[in-house]
């Protein structure tokens, strides 16, 4: 210890350690451990799943990116599943995003003050429902009416070049990419809503008032003042919703139709990486078992890529906003 140290705080004599120091160190170690724990867990998951999946990667090589998933012939190409995962997640986000932003704007800028809390509570309540309940509801309540709706959509679009492929022959029980997408859209709406709502709430009132003072209508104010300020937050919220949609398992497994193939027909049955694991793991052995664990690895990688992309988008948008 230096002898010409600045005057010590009151109550501490020279030569003893300040009592706060040990607590401070303990806190640092605790925080470090907590931080490291995430990395360790993530690493352990990655290592053990990859090791278990290795026989699949070895047996199929690049054929894991073909779309023949046929356990009876011991062929496991996951392209149909990757495609299904992305398609269901995309349908969910496309359906959910406008509604979520609508709810968020309504709550922050349109609704009368006393309506805001109840709406926020109700939307947050949606997030508390277990996914299996969503799945069963979709299976028993939603699927049948949807299948007749799909039939009329398919009839109406038959003959129109692109639409007739996208809205092709619907599945008779209503189990399809679309049904799964709709149910996942409901599940991610509270997530996207709550994040965008928080972001909209940070828009300075002065900017909004300035826009209104310049004669902007409410919509022009939202477009000119709220959206530019919140763009990165909206992207982040969407990406978190997308990640949630890709990882959703049981609700999708119940209504997606368990058919592993690449098809443009969103009204037909399909399958996703997570739901095939739920459906087939119990009876799987040998290569099928490693292929299913491999599906988990593939999903892990896709999710990491998406969240890295989200981070990149957000930082770029922030930087641009900072320069402007």
């Amino acid at each position: 210890m230096a002898t010409d140290a600045p005057a010590l705080p009151k109550g501490i004599t020279k030569g003893t350690r300040p009592p706060g120091l040990i607590a401070d160190r303990a806190f640092r170690i605790l925080a470090l451990l907590a931080g490291l724990m995430v990395l360790v867990i993530l690493g352990l998951i990655a290592v053990s799943t990859t090791r278990e999946a290795w026989p699949w990667f070895q047996a199929e090589g690049l054929n894991i990116f073909t779309d023949t998933w046929d356990p009876s012939k011991n062929t496991f190409g996951a392209l149909g599943l990757i495609y299904g995962t992305l398609l269901v997640a995309a349908v969910a986000v496309v359906l959910s995003l406008p509604i979520s932003i609508g709810i968020a704007l309504f709550v922050t800028d349109v609704a009368p003050q006393r309506l805001r809390r109840p709406i926020v509570y109700t939307v947050d309540l949606l997030a508390a429902i277990p996914s299996v309940v969503y799945g069963l509801w979709a299976l028993f309540v939603l699927a049948q009416p949807l299948s007749s709706l799909f039939q009329s959509v398919s009839d109406a679009t038959s003959g129109i070049p692109v639409l007739s492929t996208i809205f092709g022959n619907p599945s008779a029980s209503g189990k399809s990419f679309m049904t799964a997408g709709i149910i996942v859209a409901i599940m991610i709406t509270p997530i996207i809503t709550s994040i965008t709502r928080e972001v909209f709430a940070t828009v300075p009132a002065s900017q909004k008032e300035a826009a209104l003072a310049l004669g902007a209508t409410r919509w022009e104010m939202i477009r000119g003042a709220v959206f530019p300020h919140s763009r990165s937050g909206m992207v982040a919220g969407t990406m978190i919703g997308l990640g949630r949609a890709m990882g959703e398992t049981i609700a999708i497994a119940l209504v997606v139709g368990a058919s592993q193939r690449v098809t443009a027909n969103v009204l037909g049955p399909g399958d996703t990486l997570a739901s095939v694991i739920a459906n087939q793991f119990g009876e799987a052995s040998g290569t099928q078992r490693s292929a299913l664990i491999g599906c988990g690895v593939v999903l892990f990688v896709i999710t990491i890529l998406i969240s890295m992309a989200a981070r990149a988008v957000v930082t770029r948008a922030d930087r641009r906003a900072g320069i402007a």
Partner: protein
């Protein structure tokens, strides 16, 4: 203050270490849990198809011998075989024997297959106007591979002379989850209609795109019940519970037989039983045999390191082969015929016996 901080500093690593050690011990303990005074807890997992029967038998066995607790966790045959191979359960249920290439992974040495019960797999359909439907294996194969699209197809008419069949479209319903039921059903089609059936056999097969999937036997049954013109394969107990109509299936002797407990026992009786007590009751001969029956086995190691557990397993097996067989029809499972029952009882005596190479199924380790 100082003292608290020091202990806090060590608390987290200490908790971590204790946690790791105890979780490691818990895994190890599954194999060698201490036994107090003759009581034993047996943990098992595996096939879900016989699970309701096992629960019935375990309940009845518990009344007889309250010292023994048996937990049968289900999870599927594949999980059962994996858990058994890794020695994390005391015994396991499986609807199919190990594949030869998987035997190397069985870590506990010699083990036995114990057949317990069997059950018919019904071909259930939803056609309100047709009370009695007869199908041959070829017709069934063509229906499930999507070749036959309507109920008034010539092939179905040929199986049902004189019946009035509607022109309703056929909706094929299959399992969404992989299942021993699918495996046995497709194995039957492969054996009985090798030319008409091209999708192969397995716990999941690549079904045509315009078919429907249901979750579990009850999911398939429910979809059949809700869809006019639907046909699907459903296990006997679930099909009965949902009050579905069953088709009569043409057996090897050319007779159309309806699914029943009796017709299933008749099918097992004619089946070729191998030395390790595995057998294949599918497409069995015999006038009264129902050709689509699913067998199931319990897997038990010969070497029982824990004598209390070993005794409990033997008692449980003996109970299954005694009063347990009488319980089977009550829950819509077929008891074993006498010939197989005698062989199984003889095999129980080998469990826990000092390791000689008398085991019928020897793993390659």
């Amino acid at each position: 203050m100082k003292r608290i901080s020091v202990s806090l500093r060590w608390l987290v690593p200490a908790v971590l270490v204790v946690g790791l050690v105890t979780s490691g011990a818990a895994v190890a303990g599954a194999k060698n849990a201490p036994v107090q005074g003759g009581s034993a807890t047996l943990n098992a997992s595996g096939a879900t198809f016989p699970q309701s029967y096992y629960e019935e038998v375990i309940g009845a066995f518990k009344q007889k011998d309250s010292n023994v607790t048996i937990n049968y966790a289900g999870g599927g045959s594949g999980k059962g075989r994996q858990d058994f191979a890794d020695q994390v359960v005391d015994f396991a249920g499986s609807d199919a024997p190990y594949k030869p290439e998987d035997l190397a992974g069985v870590k506990g040495g010699t083990f036995f297959y114990f057949p317990t019960v069997a059950a018919p797999i019904t071909v259930s359909y939803n056609l309100s106007s047709v009370k009695k439907l007869q199908l041959s294996a070829e017709t069934l194969a063509k229906i499930f591979s999507g070749e036959i699209k309507t109920w008034d197809d010539a092939a179905i008419k040929a199986d049902n002379k004189g019946a009035k069949l509607p022109s309703t479209a056929i909706t094929v319903v299959h399992r969404a989850d992989s299942s021993g039921t699918t495996e046995n059903f497709t194995k039957f089609l492969t054996a009985a209609a090798p030319t008409a059936w091209t999708l192969g056999s397995g716990s999941t097969v690549s079904w045509p795109a315009d078919t429907q999937a249901g979750q579990g036997n009850s999911g398939v049954g429910q979809t059949v019940k809700n869809t006019d013109g639907a046909i699907g394969y459903v296990d006997f107990a679930d099909a009965k519970a949902l009050k579905l109509q069953f088709a009569r299936i043409k057996n090897k002797d050319g007779k159309f037989v309806a699914p029943s407990v009796k017709a299933t026992t008749a099918a097992i009786d004619k089946a070729q039983v191998k030395g390790d007590l595995t057998y294949d009751p599918l497409n069995a001969s015999g006038a009264g045999a129902y050709p689509i029956a699913a067998p199931t086995w319990l897997l038990v190691y010969q070497n029982q390191s824990d004598s209390a557990k070993g005794t409990a397993v033997k008692n449980f097996l003996n109970y299954i082969y005694g009063n347990g067989q009488k319980l089977a029809p009550e829950v819509d499972y077929a008891p074993l015929p006498k010939s197989l029952l005698d062989k199984a009882k003889a095999q129980v005596k080998k469990v826990g016996a000092s390791s000689s190479s008398s085991g019928a199924s020897t793993s390659t380790t």
